[in-house]
């Protein structure tokens, strides 16, 4: 082997190593700087107190974020899973292609555009005001395509033999779907839902003009009641003067990340179960 080839090989791996460092270093820097800035605000008061000018509580924002996630799960989850089932199991020909195409286009919709339209229509035109419903709908429009896609993919990975077995036993389509297909595809569907929640956790642009903010705890009221949430705290508190506000902002960021880690871990566990299931079926 010539020196040139050996050298090229060596250089290539060095370049890849540098690329890896360029991924790792900024990322670690982000995580470390968030943690570092959040340290002064860390404590139980984050969970026991609400946001206000004097303390570093985040109770209302945490509750609000969780309620928003719950709302997304209900709205985008139900619609998205149903749509995914239709695309995988019922749609044919041009309908199938068009519905999937438009869903993918929606996936590329900039979140600020969704927020802007949600604001002009839901908040202003419909007189809902800054509200839970407007926020949940805006977020749902954002994550819906992901849920549709993952549900469809999960169902397509169920072997045809299972559908044929259902039909062969004389089971109605719906029974085949609920008894055989969905249980098999469930882990895949759930991990798609978790990805959607993870995306929702980090979003701010579609919420900025739909959710509003309040220092009180959120109520389970759909309209005319503003909803506090974590990413908003980061955005607003960082522009306030004073180290306490900045530490609160960083703590809100840290909690968002924590929520994200929980969601990702849950997603991994579910996905691992899904893989084991697929492996069993292909035997």
């Amino acid at each position: 082997m010539s020196l040139k080839r050996r050298l090229t090989d060596r250089i290539f791996w060095v370049v890849c190593g540098v690329a890896f460092l360029l991924i790792a270093a900024p990322s670690i820097s982000v995580l470390v700087s968030v943690f570092h800035q959040a340290v002064p605000a860390l404590g139980w008061q984050l969970f026991s107190h609400r946001t206000n000018a004097k303390a570093t509580g985040l109770q209302n924002a945490i509750l609000g974020s969780l309620i928003l996630l719950g709302g997304v799960l209900v709205v985008a989850g139900s619609v998205g899973v149903a749509a995914g089932i239709y695309l995988a199991e019922y749609a044919t020909g041009r309908t199938e292609k068009l519905l999937r195409f438009f869903s993918e286009i929606l996936a590329g919709m900039p979140s600020i555009v969704i927020g802007y339209i949600a604001y002009l229509t839901l908040v202003v035109q419909f007189h809902w005001g800054y509200s839970l419903l407007a926020a949940v709908i805006a977020l749902s429009a954002l994550v819906l395509p992901y849920i549709v896609k993952t549900t469809e993919v999960a169902l397509r990975q169920v072997p045809t033999a299972i559908r044929e077995a259902g039909a062969g036993l004389g089971m109605p389509r719906t029974a085949t779907l609920t008894r055989m297909l969905l249980p098999t595809a469930l882990p895949g569907i759930v991990s798609g839902l978790i990805v959607a929640l993870a995306i929702s956790t980090g979003e701010l642009a579609p919420l900025l003009f739909t959710a509003g903010f309040t220092d009180t705890n959120p109520k389970l009221q759909l309209l005319h009641q503003q909803v506090p949430y974590l990413t908003n705290v980061i955005y607003t508190d960082i522009s306030l003067p004073g180290s306490r506000a900045h530490a609160t902002a960083a703590a809100a960021g840290l909690l968002s990340l924590l929520l994200l880690v929980i969601l990702i871990t849950a997603g991994r566990l579910v996905a691992r179960r899904a893989r084991r299931q697929t492996a069993r079926m292909s035997l």
Binding site: W13, L22, Y90, S111, T121, T160, T201, I234, I264
Partner: protein, 351 residues
């Protein structure tokens, strides 16, 4: 015995359920379930139609009011919102209002393209290293790490860019670049706000997205194909060049387009880092600038105080251009991916 290789690659998924669909007869209950599911399946399409319709409706007065000057005017200003009202083409606007999308379009395209050019090689190189050199038992943890990075809220990236990364860059790398004296790459490097910092932060934001897809793609290259190259006496690098990269090229294009779309539409991080120059052209890569998405977010509040309503309409027109750019990017990526897959190569698995 049929040859596995003779089956057209990548076509199995849609053919899979066609046979099963035809198998069972539908009962009345089945039909009802199907109807409900169909309605749900219409929702994404309906949502898209609603969004596009509302954007056009909102933007229409501005389209008439601005005419072609929307694409030639080099500033975006809402005018004196408490002053007199002017009328043009039958529509009212605040005096001094001058809406041009050009600086915003420029900022959007340049920042996202710089981000893309920085991110794709880094993401692909890193992904190759992860797959080929990292032991199997660490792979899971690295996957979680990449997912976590992809999920970091953009506001967190924004703050990191403005407080940590931007100042660091401006003290070091930017000085070196500026010292070269290349037009557009020189001048005051400022405190680290502006076009280049925003682009670099955008790159950092889209790297995990591109890298995690690239990693899945590289992992999906069949071992038997790579062994073919190894058995010919090719080095690992040559194997990657002649087997892995051609295999994953289509998928990589899709991943790059996905990352680009994310950078095009990114709002909050750019808003924080852009340096708040919302209506001017940057004169150097270190200057403040703005993007279409960031402008919508930044101006929406004050636009509401425009009694003529034209500021709101103009923002909708900006949004419409953003939509068009995003859509074209998407379409271009699809066409590009199809062109490469026409060569009969296996179509990007895992995306």
């Amino acid at each position: 015995m049929t040859s596995v290789a003779e089956r057209p690659a990548g076509r199995t998924a849609s053919g899979l359920s066609a046979r099963a669909r035809a198998i069972s007869e539908l009962t009345g209950r089945d039909r009802a379930v199907r109807a409900v599911l169909f309605v749900a399946a219409l929702v994404p399409t309906a949502a898209l139609a609603f969004l596009v319709y509302e954007m056009i409706k909102q933007a229409y007065p501005a389209i008439i009011f601005n005419g072609w000057s929307f694409f030639t005017t080099k500033k975006f200003t809402m005018g004196n919102l408490y002053g007199n009202v002017v009328v043009k083409h039958g529509y009212q606007a605040a005096q001094g209002a001058d809406f041009g999308v050009l600086p915003l379009l420029f900022g959007t395209l340049v920042s996202s393209l710089i981000a893309l050019v920085l991110a794709v090689p880094v993401a692909v190189g890193g992904a190759i290293l992860l797959v080929e050199k990292v032991p199997a038992r660490l792979q899971g943890a690295l996957g979680v790490f990449l997912e976590l990075l992809a999920g970091i809220p953009s506001i967190v990236f924004g703050l990191w860019g403005i407080y940590t990364f931007g100042p660091l860059l401006s003290r070091t790398v930017y000085r070196w670049i500026a010292a070269l004296g290349i037009p557009w790459l020189s001048g005051s490097t400022g405190a680290g706000e502006g076009l280049l910092t925003a682009s670099v932060v955008l790159a950092v934001m889209i790297i995990p997205i591109v890298a995690s897809i690239a990693r899945e793609l590289v992992r999906s290259v069949p071992a038997v194909s790579k062994e073919g190259a190894v058995a010919l006496g090719l080095t690992p690098t040559e194997t990657i060049r002649f087997v892995t990269i051609p295999y994953v090229r289509t998928g990589l294009i899709a991943a790059a387009v996905l990352g680009w779309a994310r950078a095009l539409g990114e709002t909050i991080a750019v808003l924080v880092i852009s340096g708040d120059a919302l209506n001017i052209y940057p004169h150097s890569i270190f200057d403040p600038f703005s993007t279409m998405a960031a402008t919508i977010a930044a101006f929406l509040d004050s636009a509401l105080t425009d009694s003529t309503g034209m500021a709101i309409h103009a923002l909708a027109e900006v949004g419409l251009v953003l939509l068009a750019v995003t859509f074209l990017t998407n379409l271009g990526g699809r066409l590009l991916a199809r062109r490469f897959s026409d060569a009969g190569l296996p179509v990007g698995r895992g995306v």
